[in-house]
Amino acid sequence: MAEHTPDRDFIEFVSGRVLWLRRIAFLLCEDWHHADDLAQTALTKLYAVWPKARSADNLDAYLRTILVNTYINETRRPLWKRLVSADTGVLLDVPERAPDSDAALDLRAALAKLPPRQRAAVVLRYYCDLSVEQTAAELNCSPGTVKSQTARGLDALRRILQAQPSL
C-alpha cells in the first residue's frame, strides 16, 4: 500500500495538541484507551477535511467539536451502551494512583454516570473553559440547553459524590 505524505501544516497543528485532545477525550469517556481511539478518530476526521478546515477561524474548536461529536455519536451505539453500563470495567485500567488521586478518581467514577451530553457540557464548560455560547456552538444546541445540561450535570455529580464512599 502506498504511503501518503501528510500535509505538513496538519502535522504542525496537531502535534502540539495530541495530549490536550486525549485529555478531553478521557474526561468524556473515562478510559484512556478509549480516549486514544476517540482522539485518533477525531484526528482522522479532521485530516479528511483538512484542505478546507485548515482555514477555519478556530481550529482548536473545530477539532474539539469533531471529538465531542464522535464521542456523542458513539454513545448511541448499543455496544458502547453495554460497555458503559458495566460499572466494574470503568476503573480497571486505571494506572497506579498518584498520592492525591482519590478525589479525582471519585470524580471520574461520578462523571462516568452522567449522560453523554451532560458530561460533554460539563467538560467543555469547566475543563475547556468555554463560555455557554461557545459550548452551545460545539454541542450544536442552544445556550439554554447548555445551562440546563451543565446545571444538571453538576448537580448530579454532587449527588453522586456525596453518596459514594471515597475510593
Binding site: 500500500m1 496538519f10 484526528l43 494506572p95 456525596q162
Partner: protein
C-alpha cells in the same frame, strides 16, 4: 466521602493528570486514514497516491473507513475515460440552464446536515452539476454522488488523485446558504449575486476564497481552488464557475451489476476518476455499497492493474471487459452476501474501456 469541589475545572484537570498509559495515538495513521476518508466522503479533496492501495480501518468503535488509491496503471493500458462533460438530461431531478442566477452568498462548509443528492437506485447514477471549462493542466476529474451528505463535491486536478502541491479545482453543490461570513466581494457575470466569500474573521482574497452563487433552481454552488497560481487564480476560478453545467446528469460507469435487484444493495457512494475532456489516461471507479455499515466496496481499475491486498476484509477480483474488478467486504458484510464476495463479483460485468459503451444504469437485468 468526597464532595463536588467549588472549582470543577480544577478537579477535572486533576483527573487528567492521573498517571496514564502511553498514548496509542498515531498522527501519521490519522493522516493516512483521513486521506482515504476524503475519497470516501466525496469531500472537497480527494486524496490518492500513485500506487495500488485500498484499505479500511476500524476507528474508535465501528467506524469503518474505506480507502482506495488508484493503482499503478499498467503501461500500455488503453485509455479509459474522456466522458463528455456536462451532459444534461431533462428528467430525474431539478434542472436548470447552464447559466446561473444569483443569490445570497454562502459557505458550503457551514451547510447543515440535510439529505444530500443521494444515489438513485433506479434511473441511474446522476450528478447535480459538472465541470465545463477547466485550466489546461487539469487532466482528471473526480466525480460521483454520495448518499447522506449535504454537499455534493467534484474535483479536477493535474493527476488522477492528489499530489502534493499540484493544483486542484473543486466544485460543490448544496441546498443551503451560509450561516456566517466575514465579508464578500461581488463577482460579475455569474448571475445577479455572486461573491467571493470567506468565513467570519477571514479576509476575502479572490482566488483564495470561495466563489459562491445560487442558481435558478435554488441550489448553492461553490468553486474553489488549491495550489493555483495566485496571479491567475481568481480569473481561472471565475471562468470555471461560468462554465459549470448545472442540472442532474447521468454519470456513465464502466461496470454494471446484473441480475441483482437494486434494493438488495444500497449504493452509498460512487467515485469515478476519469480523464478530463481533451485528455487521455486511465480511469478508475470506487463504489460503496451498503450492507449495514458501509463495509462493502467495489474497486475498478484497468485490467493489468494490481489491486490490493486489503487488510481489512475479504476480497475477490476478476478481469471483465477491460477492467480489473474487486469486491471487498469486511467479514460480517461478506456473510450477508449470497455467495459471499465471489457471489457478488459474479454479477458485475465490465462494459469495456470505451466510455461510449458505459452506462449510468448501475443495475441491470
Amino acid at each position: 466521602m468526597t464532595g463536588m469541589p467549588e472549582d470543577p475545572g480544577s478537579q477535572l484537570t486533576a483527573l487528567t493528570e492521573l498517571a496514564a498509559p502511553a498514548t496509542a495515538i498515531d498522527l501519521y495513521k490519522a493522516c493516512d486514514d483521513g486521506y482515504r476518508l476524503r475519497l470516501r466522503r466525496r469531500r472537497t479533496n480527494r486524496a490518492l497516491t500513485g500506487t495500488a492501495a485500498v484499505g479500511v480501518l476500524g476507528v474508535a468503535a465501528t467506524v469503518l473507513t474505506i480507502a482506495h488509491s488508484p493503482a499503478t496503471h499498467g503501461a500500455g493500458q488503453q485509455a479509459a475515460g474522456q466522458l463528455p462533460a456536462g451532459q444534461q438530461v431533462t428528467t430525474g431531478g431539478p434542472t436548470s440552464p447552464p447559466t446561473t442566477a444569483g443569490g445570497a452568498p454562502h459557505s458550503p462548509s457551514t451547510a447543515p446536515s440535510t439529505p444530500g443528492p443521494g444515489i438513485a437506485q433506479t434511473g441511474g447514477v446522476r450528478v447535480p452539476a459538472s465541470f465545463g471549462w477547466l485550466p489546461q493542466g487539469m487532466a482528471f476529474i473526480d466525480e460521483g454522488p454520495s448518499a447522506g451528505t449535504s454537499t455534493y463535491t467534484a474535483a479536477a486536478g493535474t493527476t488522477a488523485g492528489k499530489a502534493a502541491g499540484q493544483p486542484r479545482v473543486f466544485l460543490s453543490v448544496g441546498d443551503t446558504g451560509p450561516a456566517s461570513m466575514s465579508s464578500k466581494i461581488p463577482v460579475q457575470g455569474l448571475g445577479t449575486s455572486a461573491y467571493w466569500v470567506a468565513g467570519t474573521g477571514q479576509s476575502v482574497v479572490p482566488g483564495q476564497a470561495d466563489l459562491i452563487w445560487q442558481d435558478s433552481s435554488g441550489k448553492w454552488l461553490t468553486v474553489s481552488g488549491d495550489s493555483l497560481d495566485p496571479a491567475t487564480a481568481a480569473a481561472t476560478l471565475e471562468h470555471v464557475a461560468r462554465t459549470i453545467v448545472v442540472g442532474q446528469a447521468p454519470l456513465p460507469l464502466p461496470i454494471q451489476i446484473r441480475g441483482l435487484a437494486p434494493a438488495a444493495l444500497g449504493v452509498n457512494q460512487v467515485v469515478l476518476t476519469h480523464p478530463a475532456p481533451g485528455h487521455t489516461g486511465p480511469a478508475n471507479l470506487n463504489i460503496g455499497l451498503n450492507t449495514t455499515d458501509d463495509s462493502l466496496s467495489v474497486f475498478v481499475e484497468p485490467t493489468g492493474t494490481t489491486q490490493g491486498p486489503w487488510t481489512w476484509g475479504t476480497s475477490a477480483c476478476k478481469d471483465s471487459g477491460g477492467w480489473n474488478i474487486c469486491v471487498v467486504a469486511d467479514p460480517r458484510a461478506a456473510t450477508e452476501l449470497p455467495g459471499g464476495v465471489n457471489g457478488l463479483l459474479a454479477h458485475i460485468q465490465g462494459l469495456g474501456t470505451d466510455p461510449a459503451h458505459w452506462s449510468a444504469d448501475l443495475f441491470a437485468n
